[in-house]
Each structure stands twice: as structure tokens, then as C-alpha cells.
């Protein structure tokens, strides 16, 4: 199944918590620049899978290969530096840091102020650059999550319910941003969502997770 043409190869991933299986034999792949959706009922194992793919937790069995390299045991920070960025379902901002400082943390040390402003401008947060992250609205926090994810120039973005609890305007602008990142930067993404219309409009194919397995693949 492993092929250098695949950006991400997930092979036989299994995970249990206190002997209760959450994921079993999950296998799929993502091509460079591909837009893939992931849906499933609550408790189907979506967040566990996202946590394994981003390096937050290790699987009990199986492997994750990124760009031909085995990253199964690579921690989240190393995967980010390798080009796998993730966003959180519930953003966890740095309350005392300003928006610009939060982005600076994610950029390489050599990055200048121009690079920070360019990223903030792209996600529509330039006007809030000097505000503490703790004072941002939900929509702005989601934009900041995008800015953080884009700071590593990702080749794969794992987006966990990134459009939930947003106003219509925020959702439309972030959807447009995601399309642009996918089209212009060539970044692939794995979008986790409960919204079938959104998944169908953004993703070429959607993986359906049920009972800890990929039950089917196709439209949402």
C-alpha cells in the first residue's frame, strides 16, 4: 500500500483505551494536494484518529507514513516541523500572548515582522495583531488556528471541526481561505466535520468512520 506518490499512508491503525477498542485496522491514503473529508457519528473515533495522525497520541498497532517516511512515533511538534499541521476542535489560545506573538511562536526564529503580518493579513486578523489572544471571538480564534497551521507551510493540514460554531460570514471566509490554501499552496487537507454539504463541496472524497473502522468512502 505504501507508495512514494502518497503524501500520507495510514496502514492498519488500531487504538484502545482501557481495553475498549476505539480504532481497528484503519487504513487509507492521501495524495499530495488532495482534499479528503472524514465524518462519522460521535464516538466513532474521529478525534482519536486525528490525534494519532498529528502525533498527539501513539497507536497500539499500525503505521503512519508521511512523504515516504515512517512518522508513527514522531511527536506532534516534530510532525508540525515536517509539514503536518493540525487545528483543534476547541482552540486553546495563549491567553497572555498577542495575536502576532502567537503566530511568531509557530514561525521559524528567523521570520521577520513582515512574514507575521502577511500571514495575519491572509487569515483576516491583521487588525487584531496586538490584541491578547484571550480576548478574541470564536471566529477570530479559528482564524488564528489557521494562521498557526499555515505558519509551517504545511503539506498536510488536519482540520478538526474547524468550521463549527462560526457565523455565516466567518464560515464563508474560512472556506474560501481553505480553498485558496489547497489550490495556491498545494497543501492537502483532511477535514473532519459533521456537515455533509460542507464536506461534499470541499472534498474530493469523504471517509466514513463507524465503530472505529473506515466503513465506506465516497460522498458524505
Amino acid at each position: 500500500m505504501t507508495s512514494p506518490a502518497f503524501l500520507l499512508t495510514v496502514d492498519g491503525i488500531a487504538k484502545s483505551f482501557e481495553r475498549a477498542p476505539v480504532l481497528a485496522e484503519v487504513s487509507f491514503h492521501v495524495l499530495p494536494g488532495e482534499a479528503v473529508g472524514l465524518c462519522g457519528d460521535n464516538g466513532s473515533g474521529k478525534t482519536t484518529l486525528v490525534n494519532i495522525l498529528s502525533g498527539l497520541i501513539a497507536p497500539d498497532a499500525g503505521s503512519v507514513r508521511f512523504d515516504g517516511l515512517d512518522v508513527t512515533r514522531l511527536p506532534m511538534d516534530a510532525r508540525y516541523r515536517a509539514g503536518i499541521a493540525r487545528t483543534f476542535q476547541i482552540p486553546r489560545p495563549y491567553p497572555a500572548l498577542t495575536v502576532a506573538e502567537a503566530v511568531r511562536v509557530a514561525l521559524p526564529a528567523s521570520a521577520g515582522g513582515g512574514e507575521i503580518d502577511a500571514l495575519l493579513s491572509r487569515v483576516g486578523l491583521l487588525g487584531q495583531r496586538d490584541l491578547p489572544c484571550g480576548r478574541l471571538s470564536q471566529g477570530c480564534l479559528r482564524r488564528l488556528e489557521f494562521a498557526r497551521a499555515l505558519a509551517c507551510r504545511p503539506r498536510l493540514m488536519i482540520l478538526d471541526e474547524v468550521f463549527s460554531a462560526l457565523s455565516t460570514t466567518d464560515e464563508e471566509e474560512l472556506v474560501a481561505l481553505l480553498r485558496a490554501v489547497n489550490r495556491e499552496d498545494g497543501a492537502a487537507f483532511l477535514l473532519v466535520s459533521h456537515n455533509p454539504q460542507l464536506l461534499d463541496s470541499l472534498c474530493g472524497r469523504v471517509l466514513h468512520l463507524a465503530g472505529g473502522r473506515i466503513a465506506r468512502e465516497g460522498k458524505a
Binding site: L56, A78, R92, Y94, E101, A106, R148, C152
Partner: protein, 318 residues
């Protein structure tokens, strides 16, 4: 946060007062209280790097102060090293201790860091308190509660010279602490304090930076410990005490955790107040506990945080 504190004029005024004070103050006891106040303020500032900026509540900070003071004493008295070699070696040992504690604390979070460091600090305190390192036939004993004397490079220390040396030391230490806080390293530590998860998802090796926070803070605490040992002429078990660590954490909370300047100012003011009024240790510890409870409940940002809030409110009203 500290970068925007309204401290410019007040710092200049305080510096002017402290520079001129010894000219009109001839009581050696009061000069000594102020001198030790400067050294302990630098120590409290060093705690703020790990406990405030990096958000790792360490309760063994006195360990690094004590390692440096005991190393100075042992190296000058037992090994007969000159002070200019003993002091940097002692500071390096303290820094190594910091990296060691940091390595143990790095996988832990929140109260677990406090509990681990409390245990390490108390174990070290008991170790130096309960052991006599060298006992001679003449009846002398080095170690235990009395500690080890430091062989001083001068015959008689002038209280005024010591005062100015300690003041310059505090100014330099504060400048270094502020530089660390305002550097990229400081920014990363503030991010780790804010959300370890987001920091990790931003490519930050959180464990590595926690070790660094402990190491940097320990180097600076060790510098204060070495300076203190050369000032008082003896390293004692009190240099490792929980009270010293607790003081640093309390003063940081009162002054404003993570601001460096707030903890330094609070440590100096409270030390001078307590020593000047000869407040007994039991009362001091009671005060620390009460102050911590009240500050954390009503003014979590400390004095510096309140000053910022007042300034923001004033600016918003314009």
C-alpha cells in the same frame, strides 16, 4: 506584558533614591538589610523565569541558591580555590542542578511540578541540615545547621561598598532577566505557560524548553546564591530552605508573575520590611500563605497586573 508596564519614571526615581540612600544612612544593620534585599530580589526575579514566564511552579528554587552558596564555601575553604574561580564554577553547578530538575519536571504539569520540586527541595534541605561534612579534632564542625564558612577575598567588607556592589548586581540581573523574557526564548516560554498543547502543535519541543527554563532560572539563582555567600561569609542550611523558595513564589505572585520587575520589586520591599521590623520566621510564613491566598483570589495578576489594568482602563476612558 512587562514591556508595557508604566515603570519608566518610577524606575528612574527608585534608582535615584537607592543610589543616594547610603549617603545619608550610616547604620550598618540597615545597610546590610538593603544589601541582602538586593540579592534576594535578584533571586526572586530568577524564580519568575521558571515560575512566572514559563508557568512551572517550582518549589525547590532555593536548591540552586544553596548549591551555589555551598559550592562557593566548599571551593574557597576546603579546596582553597580563589573566589574568581569558585564563583563561576558554583554558578555552573547550580545551572546543572537546574537542568537536572528540569529534566525530571518536564513531563509533568501544574500541581505535579510543584509537588515534585517540593520533594526535591526538602530532600536537599534535610541532606545539608543533617550532615556534618567535616569535623576536626579541634572541635570544629563544618556542615549541619551552621553550614560552611566562605573564605573571603577581602579582610573587611565595607557596608557601603557591599551595598553598591549588590545594587549593581541587582540592576544587571534584572536587565538579564528582562532580556530573557523579551527574547524569542522568553516568548516560547510564555507560550508554554499559556497552552502546552498549542505550543506543541506550533512545533515547540515543550520538554526541551521547560528544561531550559529551569536551567536559566537556576543559573541566575546560583549567581544570587554565590553573591549572597560572599556577602554573608558563610553558606548555611537556610540557603536550601523551603521558606526561601516559598518567598520567591509569594513575592512573584504579589508583584505580578511573569513580569520580572514586579517580583523583583516585591521581594526587595518585603525583605526590607520584614528584616527592618525583625518579623519572626513563623509570622513571615503565615504572611506568605495569606498573601498568596488573597492575591490569587482577588488580584491574580499581582501589583503589576493591577497597574496594567488601571492604565488600560484610563486609556479606554480617554
Amino acid at each position: 506584558m512587562a514591556a508595557h508596564l508604566p515603570i519608566g519614571k518610577s524606575t528612574a526615581a527608585a534608582a535615584g533614591i537607592l543610589l543616594l540612600l547610603p549617603l545619608g544612612l550610616h547604620d550598618p544593620f540597615l545597610l546590610d538589610v538593603l544589601t541582602t534585599g538586593f540579592l534576594l530580589a535578584a533571586f526572586a526575579g530568577s524564580w519568575d523565569i521558571v515560575g512566572g514566564v514559563a508557568g512551572q511552579v517550582s518549589l525547590c528554587h532555593a536548591l540552586f541558591f544553596g548549591i551555589a552558596s555551598y559550592a562557593c564555601a566548599a571551593m574557597t575553604t576546603l579546596l582553597e580555590w580563589p573566589a574568581f574561580l569558585a564563583a563561576p564554577a558554583a554558578v555552573l553547578l547550580a545551572g546543572l542542578g537546574g537542568f537536572g530538575v528540569g529534566a525530571l519536571a518536564a513531563p509533568l504539569r501544574g500541581p505535579f511540578v510543584a509537588v515534585l520540586t517540593l520533594a526535591i527541595g526538602e530532600a536537599a534541605h534535610e541532606l545539608v541540615l543533617g550532615n556534618v561534612f567535616l569535623a576536626g579534632a579541634g572541635g570544629y564542625a563544618w556542615g549541619g545547621e551552621g553550614g560552611i564558612p566562605v573564605r573571603l577575598p577581602w579582610w573587611a567588607e565595607s557596608p557601603r561598598a557591599a551595598y553598591y556592589a549588590a545594587l549593581v548586581f541587582l540592576a544587571a540581573a534584572t536587565a538579564v532577566l528582562l532580556l530573557v523574557r523579551r527574547s524569542r526564548q522568553g516568548l516560547v516560554l510564555r507560550a508554554v505557560a499559556g497552552s502546552e498543547m498549542t505550543a506543541r502543535a506550533s512545533g515547540i519541543d515543550v520538554a526541551k524548553h521547560k528544561r531550559r527554563a529551569f536551567g536559566i532560572a537556576a543559573l541566575l539563582a546560583g549567581t544570587a546564591g554565590a553573591a549572597y555567600a560572599f556577602h554573608v561569609g558563610r553558606a548555611t542550611a537556610a540557603d536550601f530552605s523551603l521558606e526561601l523558595s516559598f518567598q520567591a513564589a509569594t513575592f512573584a505572585a504579589v508583584g505580578g508573575r511573569g513580569t520580572v520587575v514586579g517580583p523583583v520589586a516585591a521581594a526587595f520591599c518585603f525583605h526590607v520590611l520584614f528584616q527592618g521590623l525583625d518579623v519572626p520566621p513563623g509570622t513571615r510564613i503565615l504572611f506568605y500563605a495569606l498573601a498568596l491566598m488573597l492575591i490569587l483570589r482577588f488580584f491574580p495578576g499581582g501589583v503589576a497586573g493591577e497597574l496594567l489594568r488601571l492604565r488600560e482602563r484610563r486609556e479606554a476612558g480617554r
